[in-house]
């Protein structure tokens, strides 16, 4: 082996695929034990980008981030929502214990503004969490954001369409989200740092609409049939 490779091996700086070394990158627990276990006991990486890839809203994607949101607001740091597709509903957030004083909603006009805003938010020490819904992002721009995220040690989650799952991305964590049968959320780890991806788990999300008791008979009749004939 070459001299260089030898020194690298001695410093244990070469990652070998057959060993699952415990990484010590800074991270925030997701609040879901099942998912944390799949992510090597870590959670959302700090100072790096995370991506959630999903087809449509309303499958529990916000509830996935809710424990972190609550924690960040409790610490007096801000949560930025950048270009969300719909309005984050204030009464629901308040009910979940998110301090709305710490929630800032930002709308940007064009792509340049979007990247600039995201970078600024990520670099600021007041930021705890940035959630962003980019339209289209070139790989180069994701790389730029990844660098900005590294500068700030904040959690940044990008919500993107599921068709980008095929594309490679410099993001440190990539999760594919799908709705499950029991109103749960199926998480497929596409990429994570320090180990092989491919873990799958399912998170119970029925509580987001108070459906934990599985009492489908509570609605006496689906009124749908009555109205459409």
């Amino acid at each position: 082996m070459s001299e260089l490779l030898n020194t690298l091996m001695q410093d244990a700086r070469v990652w070998q695929g057959h060993r699952h070394t415990q990484t010590t990158q800074p991270a925030e627990p997701t609040g879901y034990q099942v998912l944390d276990n799949q992510l090597g006991g870590l959670g959302w990486p700090r100072g790096a980008l995370s991506e959630c890839l999903l087809d449509a809203p309303g499958i529990g994607e916000l509830h996935l981030l809710l424990p972190l949101m609550q924690r960040v607001c409790g610490e007096g740091k801000s949560v930025f929502w950048l270009n969300p597709p719909h309005t984050p509903y204030a009464p629901a957030l308040a009910r979940e214990g998110v301090n709305l004083d710490q929630v800032v909603l930002i709308h940007t006009e064009d792509e340049g503004d979007f990247l600039w805003t995201l970078e600024n938010c990520l670099r600021s020490p007041v930021t705890g969490l940035v959630m962003a819904w980019p339209g289209k992002l070139a790989s180069r721009e994701v790389r730029r954001l990844q660098l900005a995220a590294e500068a700030g040690s904040n959690v940044c989650v990008l919500f993107r369409e599921r068709r980008y799952a095929e594309q490679n991305s410099p993001a440190a964590l990539r999760l594919e989200l799908e709705p499950g049968e029991q109103q749960d959320l199926k998480v497929n780890v596409l990429k994570r740092r320090g180990s092989w991806p491919g873990q799958r788990c399912s998170l119970a999300m029925a509580q987001r609409a108070d459906l934990s008791f599985r009492e489908t008979t509570r609605v006496v009749r689906g009124p749908w049939s009555g109205s459409t004939g």
Partner: protein
């Protein structure tokens, strides 16, 4: 009373020169544009003198910068000087077009002697790159004559000042031409000789006005002056000899103006959160920019950063001939403290304001919103968006008694296009709004769609089905 007089021999030149990066020759020409009134040292070294015809001056220095004399501009610049002098002296009198009087007798104790007062004023002049001749006298007119003659000395000795005055030639004493010739015909050449004449004779031979003037110099007749009152707002103007075509060129003069603002705010012990910048063009309407910070601020570099951001977004519609910085809103300044009651450090607070101000400067105030719930049953009115404000000290009470609502609310109800797979809970009837004409009468259900999305759907009074939210 002891008076200090500041005579600015070329105030307009000084004012313009300090907003310029290059220090080329510069002259002020009279209104008709024929004659040179003031010439800066560079121009003088090239042989240009005041009183020279403009054509001659241009042939001496082809790249001469020219400014036309304008009375209102001069008055404004003089007032600018009064504003900074007001920090050192309370009783200030404007003597247009080029003089300032300050009562300094009462300041000696504060500053610890006359030399200290003198030094303070000189330092203030140096910082602002102003040329001024200083004179001290026991009457306003005496101080003025001494200053204009360039004989000012840092002394409060009555005899010395008197001697200085007495030796002054009549021409320097600012008598009108007629009186001056008459006095010279009488064989009088210095002011001292005029002082020695008996007052009765003077009034009889010359005019009562002349006697009054002489007595005012001597201090035997009162010479009341109304003190100048500083305005409550801050205003700074920069005038450019060459029109500025790029926003980059505005930053240099802005730096100095903002430094003045910072100093002014320091003296007021106040902060501000909104600046107004007016860019004047030669032919079109002035451009007005409002720069807002998210919280009280006084530091020049912070303002400069925001203005730089703003100017990057805003390209100049026409070349700028002058720029005005205005501040009318002042906020009381909070003393910096290490940590407040909630354990929130000042640094974090400051970082928050910096971030929000930056974002607002580039994206506009409307782009940033904060949410809050509202007391209304109608879902679209149960929340509101407001401007971003730093609020602390509202401990959060988990509002578990609020009804279950989705985390996403659609911007408007969307028609439901497919039959839901599963129905969960409902109906929840929401009816209201008859009081303001926005009547709502709906039955809400939670249902799962084919795609797996959990939706908040409703049926309204006209039997239509809509999606109003997603349980994200």
């Amino acid at each position: 009373m002891l008076w200090l007089y500041l005579h600015f021999p070329h105030l307009v030149l000084d004012h313009i020169r300090r907003t310029r990066e290059d220090q080329g020759a510069l002259v002020v020409v009279e209104g008709s544009g024929q004659k040179v009134i003031q010439a800066c040292p560079e121009a003088r070294s090239q042989g240009i003198r005041s009183g020279m015809r403009l054509k001659t001056a241009i042939s001496l220095a082809p790249d001469l910068g020219m400014v036309r004399a304008d009375e209102t501009q001069e008055a404004r610049i003089l007032e600018d000087q009064a504003r900074w002098l007001y920090r050192y002296a309370a009783h200030i009198v404007l003597v247009p077009p080029d003089g300032l009087l300050a009562e300094i007798g009462s300041l000696q104790k504060l500053y610890g002697g006359l030399p200290a007062v003198w030094q303070t004023v000189e330092q203030g002049l140096n910082e602002r790159q102003l040329n001024a001749w200083i004179g001290i006298g026991y009457t306003p007119l005496a101080a003025r004559l001494i200053a204009r003659a360039g004989k000012g000395e840092c002394t409060a000795d009555k005899g010395h000042i008197q001697r200085n005055l007495s030796q002054m030639p009549l021409l320097a004493a600012e008598f009108n031409e007629k009186a001056c010739t008459r006095l010279q015909r009488l064989g009088l050449n210095t002011l001292g000789e005029v002082f020695e004449l008996p007052p009765g004779e003077l009034a009889r031979r010359l005019s009562p006005e002349l006697l009054a003037y002489i007595q005012k110099i001597q201090g035997t007749r009162p010479d009341p002056r109304t003190p100048w009152q500083p305005p409550h707002s801050f205003r700074q103007q920069a005038d450019f000899v060459q029109e500025i075509e790029h926003t980059q060129g505005l930053l240099f003069p802005l730096q100095r103006m903002l430094a003045e603002l910072e100093e002014d705010l320091c003296w007021r012990q106040q902060d501000t959160d909104s600046l107004r910048l007016v860019l004047r063009h030669r032919h079109s309407e002035p451009t007005r920019l409002q720069i807002r910070t998210s919280g009280p601020e006084h530091r020049a570099d912070h303002f400069l950063n925001l203005i730089r951001l703003r100017l990057e977004q805003h390209s100049l519609s026409a070349p700028v001939i002058s720029m005005v910085l205005l501040v009318k809103r002042f906020l009381s300044r909070e003393a910096p403290s290490g940590q407040d009651l909630l354990g929130e450090t000042q640094d974090l607070n400051e970082a928050w304001h910096t971030l929000i101000s930056r974002l607002q400067a580039r994206l506009g105030d409307q782009a940033l919103r904060q949410l809050s719930p509202q007391a209304d049953h109608r879902p679209e009115r149960a929340w509101s968006a407001s401007e971003v404000l730093r609020k602390t000290g509202t401990p959060l009470v988990p509002a578990a008694e609020l009804p279950r609502r989705p985390l996403w609310l659609l911007k408007g109800p969307q028609p439901l296009t497919e039959a839901p797979v599963t129905w969960f809970s409902g109906p929840e009837r929401i009816s209201g709004g008859w009081w303001d004409g926005q009547r709502v009468h709906r039955d809400y259900y939670i249902a799962q769609l084919n795609s797996g999305q959990l939706a908040w759907v409703f049926r309204d009074a006209r039997e239509g089905w809509f999606v109003h939210g997603w349980f994200g």
